[in-house]
């Protein structure tokens, strides 16, 4: 059975239909890259899976449970699916450790000592064990993004959504973040990532989704999609990259 089932999902902002019937099934352990021009609806799709945007039509289910727009169901969904943002969105008033501890304690009601131990473990995992007490404004962009990954991992999600997580980084900081993601992938984490890093998509992902004008235009294994694009739109898109 698929871990994430996206069926006929439609979403409009006013008169502008951004998603025009999306179907994707994601198996456990898959790493999926979503590529496409800006405005093709790829970020919106990720945000819908996390319930940050409510879908107008169709259905999304994660591990068999459907996405419903009330607070209880949303919370259940978000405990299963973590999200990493382009702008990191760390909480600036908390330390790196505090960022990772907070949601464990207030959402999962994990006892403090246990949450802190988990936070240390997760910060270790992204290579930032020594930055436990640093505040976000004392960290580089790459470090902040790795803290954000640790923060999401601490909730023990079964899948992670990554929304252009290296786009706001200086070029020399991209590698350290992608390194962490690569490691997660090799450990079997299910990942859905919107990305412009074509090389990374080719090397690490199990499937690539090319979105165009609100639809899944092409989908397949990276070697097929990149080596042998079927549609002129994808050819043109790859030509630009």
């Amino acid at each position: 059975m698929s871990l994430i089932e996206i069926t006929e999902v439609r979403k409009s902002f006013g008169a502008n239909e951004v998603l025009k019937g999306i179907n994707i099934d994601v198996d456990p352990g898959e790493v999926i890259a979503i590529i496409g021009k800006s405005g093709s609806g790829k970020s919106t799709l990720l945000r819908c899976i996390n319930g940050l945007e409510l879908i107008d039509n169709g259905s999304i289910s994660v591990a068999g449970a459907g996405l419903l727009p009330d607070e209880l169901h949303l919370k259940a969904l978000r405990l299963k699916v973590g999200m990493i943002f382009q702008q990191f969105n760390l909480f600036p008033h908390l330390t790196a450790g505090g960022n990772v501890v907070l949601s464990q304690m207030v959402v999962r009601k994990t006892p403090k000592a246990e949450a802190e131990a988990m936070a240390r473990k997760m910060l270790e995992r992204v290579g930032l064990g020594h930055k436990y007490d640093a505040f976000p404004d004392e960290l580089s962009g790459g470090q902040q993004q790795r803290v954000a990954i640790a923060r999401a991992l601490a909730m023990q999600p079964i899948a992670l959504l990554c929304d252009e997580i290296t786009s706001a980084l200086d070029p020399e900081l991209v590698a350290e973040v992608l390194g962490v993601v690569r490691e997660l992938a090799s450990e079997g984490m299910t990942l859905l990532m919107v990305t412009h890093e074509m090389k990374f998509a080719r090397d690490v992902c199990s499937r690539v989704v090319f979105m165009h004008q609100g639809r899944v235009h092409e989908i397949g294994k990276p070697e097929e999609v990149f080596a042998d694009p079927k549609t002129p739109e994808l050819k043109q898109f790859l030509g630009m990259h």
Partner: protein, 219 residues
């Protein structure tokens, strides 16, 4: 006619200034309390409460404080109680301060980046948890300078209570003027005392603001 020495005048003004201070404190703290309540109505998810708070703020910011004082004075009188000036003054100033503080604080909550809401949502937090652990701690920090700045408006606002007969610094100024016939000096002194009360607050608001801006640039 009795002669008044400069010291007599200053002493009388300072004694009355105590009531300016007391009324300012009561108004500011009461206003903060009511303002907090209104703020939660304003930013909460209940539409009716939000609209109520919105119109409350517009009403109190769109009419003269003096009129609010008159209405409190004569309005409470209509209910049948003989209203002492201090009560009307306190009630009106608390309600007036609450409106301004609500608006200042709402601005601070709205200044928090949308990403903070989204990140905390994606971690499974509910509205109350987001407010308590993520949004308000940040909003409160940026709210400090303008809140301190507003306390100056409250102190100056208390001067109007002299018009409904509350005896504070301004009223004392008028009384002393009528006794000494030295309006230039007396009102000059009154102004200086107000300045001594207000200026340190204005200055610290500016300093806090600057510190906050410096801290922000480091992000």
């Amino acid at each position: 006619m009795i002669e008044f020495s400069l010291w007599d005048i200053v002493r009388n003004l300072l004694l009355a200034a105590r009531w300016t201070v007391v009324l300012s404190l009561v108004s500011f703290m009461g206003g903060a309390l009511v303002g907090t309540l209104l703020l939660f109505m304003r930013i909460g998810r209940r539409r009716v409460l939000g609209l109520f708070a919105k119109y409350y703020v517009e009403l109190f910011q769109g009419t003269p404080l003096l009129m609010q004082l008159f209405l409190a004075f004569f309005g409470l009188g209509l209910v049948g109680i003989d209203v002492p000036a201090w009560l009307a003054a306190g009630v009106a100033l608390i309600l007036w301060s609450a409106a301004f503080l609500t608006e200042i604080w709402r601005g601070c909550v709205e200044a928090i980046a949308k990403g903070q809401w989204e990140a905390s949502s994606s971690l499974g937090m509910g509205y109350v948890q987001q407010m308590r652990y993520v949004i308000l701690p940040q909003a409160m920090k940026i709210a400090i300078p303008p809140t301190v700045g507003f306390s100056v408006q409250v102190i100056k606002g208390t001067a109007l209570t002299s018009i409904i007969g509350f005896v504070e610094l301004s009223k004392a100024g008028t009384v002393v003027t009528n006794a000494t016939f030295q309006p230039f000096m007396v009102y000059g002194l009154v102004a200086l005392i107000y300045f001594a009360l207000c200026w340190p607050l204005s200055k610290s608001s500016q300093v806090l603001e600057r510190k906050l801006n410096v801290a922000h640039r480091n992000h």
